[in-house]
């Protein structure tokens, strides 16, 4: 077999190999894409769940902050009133 024929055989063998490789890459790309879509969907679901949780927590924190503020004011008022009573008791000497 001459060099030319060997060379031609080598070229066509390489074409076959490269074609198989290309096919493998193509299949792998399709699989990667499918996996990617699935992963993204999962992550987005998780994210939306966490966002909903965050919103809920935000609401609760907001309520909690508001009530804490009110409580602070009220405790301040109560303390002030109690101090006034104490003052009244000590000034009147009569219980």
């Amino acid at each position: 077999m001459s060099f030319n024929i060997l060379f031609i055989c080598a070229i066509y063998f390489m074409i076959a190999l490269v074609l198989l490789w290309a096919l493998k890459v193509f299949m792998s790309t399709i699989n990667t894409e499918k996996r990617f879509i699935k992963n993204i969907a999962l992550l987005q679901e998780k994210l939306s769940h966490e966002t909903a949780n965050l919103k809920l927590n935000n609401d609760q924190v907001q309520l909690s902050d508001a009530v804490t503020k009110t409580l602070v004011f009220r405790i301040f008022d109560i303390t002030r009133e109690l101090l006034l009573i104490q003052k009244l008791i000590f000034s009147s000497k009569e219980i």
Binding site: I40, L43, Q60, T70
Partner: protein, 648 residues
């Protein structure tokens, strides 16, 4: 030599079969020519005269041919010029000036190609083939015959093309290619048989006989000649008939059947005498004379030989002369005529030497030709091998190039696929990264807020416990120590109720915080409970709680929204009780388009919104409404009550 003579005769047969009174035609045409004035007509008539003279007087034919060419050139008509040149070529062919005939044929060809005269072109190629045949240039002969045949096929002139095939067969026969000759001849014979062309068929059979004779197939050669004799007789093909009889005589002479040979040659001589074919006639007479000598008719043989001798000397037919001298030598030896014997013996030797010389020369020429042919054939074979090798090399190169191109394309496709895959992976990683980052951030925030909420809950629990302790301590003080100071008692009661209110508020908030969302039903119950409590604490005020029936039971609010709605209603009712001095408070909940409308109306003293500065209560309501993106309105006039509307 014998074969060549026979085949040459046969080729001529293909163009014969033309018998007319040419002298009459010549006279008529000449008369017309004298009357004619038009040059184009004169050109045509002189061309006709040249053609007719070919069969009568070749010199006159040449004169008229040249005249025709002059007239044609004057008309500047390409068709006429081509025709005149063609006629001149024929004249030179008949005169035996074959190179000149070829020259004129080629000149005529140019005009016929110009006028696109296919039939004329075919005829010219045929003529050139005939001329080359006469000059023994057999490869050119076959080349032009084949071209003529192709042109005749093009114009569907099957008869002419088959006739040419018959000529090709004869030429192949002359060149020694018997196989090819038979191939062509078979086609011709089949066609002539099919079309019942007896004249042509008889000539074809003669050619077949010649070929078979060359193959030394004597029996079939005799059959072919006999077939030719029968058919030629039926169509009066005298030239062909004479030829076939002559050839049969030659065969039987070779087979030593002198009587049969004599019978056939006598018939041939009769026919040739009747048609005036002088050359062939003398040849036949020689054969007859030799046959007579063989049969012992010495006198007839001698007279016949002596009659033929001058013609053979004149035509330089040396082979025949050799036979003639040999036979005469034998006759004079038989007659014991020593002088004549010695004369013809010398003549015989001279002719023999001449023939031997010619034969040797011819033999060496043939050997040389054969050597040259073989050399050329070898060269052609080498060239063909080179060409085949080059072609193979080119094919391999092409295959390599195609392969490399395909490989490059496939590699490009692979590169693109890999790039695409990598790009996809990068995008995936980027997007996943972004999502994960966002998720981590939110998770961190959630954790942080969870922490804050836990701390808040602990604080609220602690504060709740402390407030309960305060209430209990105040109650213990009030009832345990029997306090007489009214001012002090009132103050303690006020602190106790304030603390209780704070605890309720804390509980409300904890209720809202413990729910991820507040269902409409829960909110409704909460509002209703509050109204009941308000009604209990302010007996003088008539409370009404009106709720439209069409409200959706599945309506849901976020904890912040629900809490803010509840607080606004709470504040509105408290305001109506505390500041408006109202005797009636109506809380209405209904649906307005897609919104839920909460309305708190009282019949209190009201106030002028422009005049009254909004206090903490009104401001808080507005703030809370803004927080939940709700529409908040206060409508109030002095002594006409107040209406607070909240649309969510």
């Amino acid at each position: 030599m014998k074969l060549r003579l026979l085949s040459a005769l046969t080729i001529l047969l293909c163009f014969s079969g033309f018998s007319q009174d040419f002298n009459g035609l010549i006279n008529t045409t000449k008369a017309k020519l004298n009357e004619e004035n038009k040059i184009s007509k004169k050109a045509k008539l002189t061309a006709d005269l040249a053609w007719y003279y070919c069969y009568v007087n070749v010199d006159s034919a040449l004169v008229y041919g040249n005249k025709s060419l002059d007239f044609s050139k004057q008309t500047k008509n390409d068709t006429l010029i081509g025709q005149s040149l063609n006629d001149l070529s024929t004249v030179y062919y008949v005169r035996g000036e074959y190179p000149t005939a070829i020259d004129f044929a080629q000149k005529s060809l140019k005009y016929r190609v110009k006028t696109n005269d296919t039939a004329g072109i075919a005829s010219l190629y045929n003529k050139m083939g005939n001329n080359y045949n006469k000059t023994n240039v057999l490869d050119s002969t076959i080349y032009y015959y084949v071209k003529a045949k192709d042109y005749y096929y093009e114009i569907n002139d099957s008869l002419s093309s088959i006739k040419i095939e018959s000529n090709i067969a004869a030429t192949y026969f002359l060149s020694g290619n018997i196989k090819k000759a038979l191939e062509y001849l078979e086609v011709s014979v089949d066609y002539f048989k099919k079309k019942d062309l007896k004249l042509e068929l008889s000539n074809a059979y003669i050619t077949e006989g010649n070929i078979l004779l060359a193959k030394k197939d004597t029996i079939n050669a005799i059959k072919a000649y006999e077939e030719a004799v029968v058919i030629a007789e039926s169509v009066n093909n005298n030239v062909g008939l004479a030829s076939a009889l002559n050839n049969l005589s030659t065969i039987y002479n070779g087979l030593n059947d002198v009587e049969k040979s004599t019978k056939y040659i006598k018939r041939a001589i009769e026919i040739r005498e009747s048609i005036g074919a002088s050359g062939d006639l003398e040849s036949a007479k020689l054969t007859l004379a030799i046959n007579n000598f063989t049969l012992g008719n010495i006198k007839e043989a001698k007279s016949g030989l002596l009659k033929v001798k001058p013609f053979l000397i004149k035509t330089n037919a040396n082979e025949k002369l050799q036979n003639l001298y040999e036979t005469l030598m034998l006759i004079y030896a038989y007659e014991r005529n020593t002088d004549s014997l010695s004369y013809y013996s010398r003549q015989f030797k001279l002719t023999l030497n001449k023939n031997v010389g010619e034969s040797n020369l011819k033999f060496s020429q043939e050997i040389e030709t054969k050597y040259e042919t073989e050399k050329k054939e070898k060269e052609i074979l080498v060239q063909r091998a080179d060409l085949a090798e080059k072609e193979l090399h080119i094919n391999q190169k092409n295959t390599q190039i195609i392969g490399l191109v395909i490989l490059a394309l496939v590699l490009s496709a692979l590169g693109y696929l890999l790039y695409n895959q990598q790009k996809l992976k990068n995008n995936q990683l980027k997007k996943e990264g972004e999502l994960r980052e966002a998720l981590v951030k939110i998770e961190t925030q959630n954790k942080l807020q969870d922490q804050r909420l836990r701390i808040s809950r602990d604080l609220h629990d602690n504060i709740g416990a402390q407030l309960t302790f305060i209430i209990s301590s105040i109650d213990n003080l009030q009832y345990g120590f029997n306090l007489k100071n009214e001012k002090l008692t009132n103050k303690l009661s006020s602190i106790s109720s304030f603390t209780k209110e704070t605890i309720y508020e804390l509980r409300d908030t904890i209720w809202a915080m413990n729910k991820s969302e507040i269902v409409w039903e829960d909110l409704q119950v909460r509002i209703s409970n509050f109204i009941d409590k308000a009604n209990h604490s302010a007996n003088a005020v008539n409370f009404q709680f009106v709720m439209e029936e069409g409200l959706e039971k599945e309506l849901k609010f976020t904890s912040v929204k629900g809490m803010n709605i509840y607080r606004i209603i709470q504040e509105a009712i408290n305001n109506a009780i505390k500041y408006a001095e109202a005797s009636e408070v109506i809380v209405t909940i209904n649906k307005l388009n897609d919104l839920v409308c909460f309305k708190v109306e009282d019949n209190g003293k009201g106030f002028n919104i422009k005049d009254v500065e909004q206090g903490n209560g009104l401001n808080n309501m507005q703030k809370r409404a803004d927080e939940i993106n709700a529409d908040f309105k206060i409508i109030s006039e002095e002594n006409k009550g107040t209406t607070i509307t909240l649309k969510v």
